[in-house]
């Protein structure tokens, strides 16, 4: 009895409009501060601190983040909706709108938890069966082109690498999350190979957006066919290969790969300009999705993505080279994708109904 009473009291408290009345201004403060902060901290960092966090710190003061504020609004609204809604036609618009907002917030939660955004860079005429993760880099060891071990860049430490997988020794001598290069000194140059003969890695300040960083590692090989220093750096020197007893060992640096259950072939990429200008009117990629016996040709355009097996492919960017065009596709896998569509429809119907009922009531009163 006492327990029920407590639940009742808690339910009454949580459904109070006061909660929304005081949470909304805080959410607006977060929205304004978080938006301005994007200019100075970078979009990803600012969003992480102000919108995706439960708690963040202003100096030493803990403050509720966007996730917590939205969570409180969600709980309050859900209790209000289930236990305290005035179930009458007069209030049908408001009830529907509240349902729509609950669905939207629930969809937001599922998306935040499960959605992943990756990308693919495919040159014309080539296939790809994996996507690249935007912010995660890896160091991958391959033996005779077969992947043996992957180390996430965030876990990379100075010292021995791939200890149990190699018949020789590789040590990480210098690691930088965002690197630049300086001239190699003469002494070190003697014991170096490839680009490391000429340049040394130097740490650079991190870019505002993580995608802009160029990670790198200076490794030292021992008991190999190429003993000495080797440089690995994204977009500059992606891989180093060693030969040991007829086996080929390759270490590559790059983005974390997510395998796809099918492959994509780029047939043609087109950039269509407005006449007489270099201003793009449209970008288009003709692709074929190869999945077992299925070969599905489809064109991806701006505002017209392709969807297949829960993956959505968007035209994101492109690279034009003298003899080759390369498309960049944004790939999204999101099981909560349908929620915003349903919730938007419910909110629309709810608000329209509420406006209609309100105008009808007004007319009746005037009459």
């Amino acid at each position: 009895m006492r327990k029920n009473h407590l639940i009742q009291r808690a339910s009454n408290f949580l459904a109070k409009p006061d909660i929304l009345f005081f949470c909304l201004p805080w959410l607006m403060v977060l929205l304004i501060v978080g938006t301005i902060a994007q200019k100075y901290m970078g979009i990803y960092e600012a969003q992480k601190i102000f919108f995706s966090s439960w708690i963040f710190f202003w100096g030493v003061i803990p403050l509720p983040g966007g996730a917590l504020t939205l969570g409180i609004i969600f709980v309050s609204l859900a209790i209000k909706f289930i236990f305290h809604s005035p179930w009458s036609f007069k209030k049908a618009g408001i009830i529907l709108t509240h349902l729509g907002i609950l669905t939207l917030l629930l969809g937001g939660l599922i998306t935040a938890k499960y959605a992943e955004e990756t990308f693919m860079v495919i040159p014309e005429g080539e296939y790809l069966d994996s996507t690249s993760v935007y912010r995660e880099r890896t160091l991958t060891l391959m033996k005779n082109d077969q992947e043996i071990e992957v180390i996430n860049f965030a876990n990379l430490k100075k010292g021995t690498l791939f200890e149990n997988a190699l018949p020789f020794s590789i040590n990480a001598d210098f690691i930088c999350e965002n690197c630049t290069m300086s001239m190699q000194n003469e002494e070190r140059s003697k014991n170096a190979h490839g680009l490391a003969k000429k340049v040394e890695l130097v740490s650079a300040p991190l870019e505002q957006e993580s995608e802009g960083n160029l990670g790198g590692v200076m490794i030292v090989a021992e008991k190999t066919n190429l003993d000495g220093r080797h440089l690995l750096m994204e977009s500059v020197a992606d891989s180093v290969t060693f030969i040991n007893a007829k086996d080929k060992y390759t270490i590559t640096i790059g983005r974390l790969q997510r395998p796809l259950p099918f492959s994509i072939e780029l047939i043609d990429f087109r950039k269509i300009n407005y006449p007489g200008t270099n201003k793009a009117k449209s970008f288009e990629s003709d692709i074929i999705i190869h999945d077992g016996d299925v070969n599905w040709p489809i064109t991806i355009r701006m505002n017209e993505p392709a969807r297949y097996k829960g993956y959505t492919f968007f035209q994101s960017s492109f690279v034009e080279r003298p003899n080759q065009e390369i498309t960049v596709l944004n790939v999204v896998h999101n099981i909560g994708q349908v929620f915003p569509y349903i919730s938007s429809l419910i909110i629309f119907i709810g608000l329209l109904l509420h406006s209609f009922i309100r105008l009808q009531n007004k007319r009746r009163k005037n009459a």
Partner: protein
């Protein structure tokens, strides 16, 4: 009402007459990615130089004719406007307009400084340096314009009598035909008399000079990409376009294109000979080369009627008359105010409809267009509301609509740029999403602004009468309907083009801020946390929120909505926020004072 409509139609016809003046203005050209009539090209180009679509003594079309058909004459026309003549050591002049020749002399003096600046990062330039580079770029553009038809114009130097008589040389094209012979003759003169021109007789000097001049004209034409007047085919919107120089130098010619170019040559000759009638006949003939393009004619017609200026003036008159009628009700018949407002509204609708027809897209593709559209929404909302009100309140409602529309139309002038009809970036090039999301959210802005102004009026009137709050709540609910649905549609568009419904992008956050503010106000009112005055004050502040969401977030220059980024309006936004806050502060102070006295 019928009498009024007749006057309106007659007025429109009278204004439209200049559009019939010349076929030349409707000739097609591709400029900045859009097929447009040459009249629009002339206006945009002249505005780029002078900041205005007309000069004191010449309209844009006439100026363009002078520039391309008689370049030597155009060099002395003052078209370059600058507020800082000192950057090119130009004399201070009241009109602030300078000729090509004057600018050329200044550029010559500052050539080294310009080169150094161009090698530097733009962000390090001072205001004056920006102005110097702007003038330099305009000078280059004007140079291209002057040289755009030099291939078909009479040669600007003397031709040796022998050549003139035997080969009938008048233009570059004629000269090009005898180029080989000229080169041969020049070589033989040099081998006979050496490279020193002092030893040549007059005829030999002229022949040697001809070869040199031929190269000079050709260099001027190379890379001249401005006057793209020759299409590859009759499907004007979907073919490549070329300048006369591209046709001649890059091998894009065909019999049809050669015929068309010949017509331009004849037009040039008629213009130089001051033969207006022949010029018009040839222009008409050139126009007939292409399938009848009503869009080009409509655009010329649209250009010739200053719909925006007239609507703006009528809204202002409507505001003034309304204020007069409110303070001295016996002075003015209300019908005069109604008619002024309706005329302004009709012209405003016409302005938007013309733009939709010409651009073949919803009228909200750019920030400028959105301001035009929101001002119309404001006028329409109040127009519809006014229909239901009694005389006294009708005038108040009309004054609110007129004032909002006037302010917004006035503000739009600052966002117009040189060309208000430029094509959209690829991601915006979708009529479906422009129609659904952008129309919806901008209509929401309109409802918000009217709700905000109504809240100001209520705060003003509250001391006199107990003003009802229900109309404000209705307006807020409608504003919420449009902004919330518009924001959700924006999310769905983002999901379709970028792969995520919500990304906390500044533009998205701005729209969400409006929605949250309205939800907070409405829930505060329903729950009793906000009393009537508090609700009105909160609603009055919605204007600031809308301005921040609409324009303010664009100043951050971050996020995926890069097509909306702007600079240079931070001061205006700050001033607006300060003024608006002061007004609301004053209204609250006044209200409290009156209540205290009562």
């Amino acid at each position: 009402m019928i009498r009024f409509l007749l006057i309106f139609i007659v007025a429109i016809n009278a204004l439209a007459l200049p559009a019939k003046a010349s076929e030349w203005r409707t000739l097609p050209i591709v400029h900045e990615g859009r097929v447009k009539p040459i009249d629009s090209f002339a206006r945009v180009t002249l505005k780029t130089f002078s900041g205005s679509e007309t000069l004191k003594t010449l309209n844009a079309s006439e100026w363009l004719k002078t520039a391309i058909f008689t370049p030597a004459n155009a060099m002395d026309i003052a078209v370059f406007k600058t507020q800082s003549p000192d950057v090119l050591n130009l004399p201070i002049r009241k009109s602030k307009l300078y000729s090509y020749q004057e600018i050329a002399n200044g550029i010559q003096e500052k050539r080294e400084t310009i080169q150094q600046l161009l090698n530097k990062d733009e962000s390090s330039w001072t205001g004056k340096q920006h102005e110097l580079i702007r003038l330099y770029q305009n000078f280059i553009l004007h140079t291209q314009l002057l040289r755009s038809l030099t291939a078909i114009l009479p040669l600007p130097f003397d031709i040796p009598e022998k050549i003139k008589r035997n080969d009938n040389v008048e233009t570059y094209l004629d000269l090009k035909k005898i180029e080989k012979r000229l080169t041969k003759e020049t070589k033989s003169i040099i081998s006979l008399k050496g490279a020193n021109p002092d030893k040549y007789n007059n005829e030999e000097l002229q022949i040697a000079d001809l070869s040199f001049q031929l190269r000079i004209i050709e260099e001027g034409g190379t890379k001249n990409t401005l006057l793209k007047i020759i299409p590859d085919g009759s499907d004007l919107e979907n073919v490549a376009w070329h300048t006369p120089w591209e046709i001649l130098l890059d091998g894009h010619s065909s019999p049809q294109k050669a015929d068309y170019l010949k017509l331009w040559e004849e037009m040039a000759r008629a213009y130089i000979n001051n033969d207006t009638s022949a010029f018009d006949d040839i222009a008409k003939n050139a126009q007939n080369q292409w399938v009848k393009n009503y869009k080009l004619k409509t655009e010329v017609f649209f250009n010739s009627i200053p719909l925006k200026t007239i609507a703006l003036s009528l809204y202002l008159i409507s505001v003034l008359l309304s204020f007069l009628a409110i303070s001295k009700p016996q002075w003015l018949p209300h019908n005069v105010i109604n008619m002024t407002f309706i005329t302004a509204l009709a012209l405003h609708v016409a302005l938007i409809v013309f733009r939709v027809f010409i651009l073949e897209r919803p009228p909200v593709g750019t920030l400028y267009e959105s301001v035009l559209f929101v001002s119309l929404v404001c006028a329409l909302i109040t127009g519809v509301s006014a229909l239901k009100h009694e005389k006294e309140r009708r005038i108040t409602t009309i004054s609110i609509g007129s004032l909002s529309a006037f302010i917004l139309l006035y503000v739009s002038g600052g966002l117009a740029g040189n060309d208000t009809m430029s094509p959209l970036v690829a991601v915006l090039n979708t009529n479906f999403w422009l129609t659904t999301h952008v129309l919806c959210i901008t209509a929401g802005y309109g409802f918000c602004l009217i709700a905000g102004v109504l809240a100001h009026v209520n705060l003003w009137q509250e001391q006199k009468t107990d003003t009802p709050v229900a109309p404000l709540i209705t307006m807020s609910v409608l504003a919420l309907l449009f902004t919330a649905v518009g924001t959700a549609l924006g999310g769905i568009w983002a999901d379709q083009s970028w792969g995520r419904f919500w990304g906390w992008d500044p533009k998205e956050n701005g729209a969400l801020l409006i929605v949250l503010w309205l939800i907070w106000l409405l829930h505060g009112r329903i729950s009793g946390h906000l009393r009537k005055t508090g609700f009105m004050i909160g609603l009055a502040f919605i204007n600031i929120i809308v301005v921040l969401a609409w324009f303010g977030v664009n100043l951050l220059n971050i996020g995926l909505h890069s097509y909306g980024f702007i600079d240079g309006i931070a001061m205006s936004i700050t001033a607006f926020i300060l003024i608006e806050t002061s007004i609301i502060g004053y209204l609250v102070y006044r209200l409290k004072k009156v209540r205290h006295e009562n």
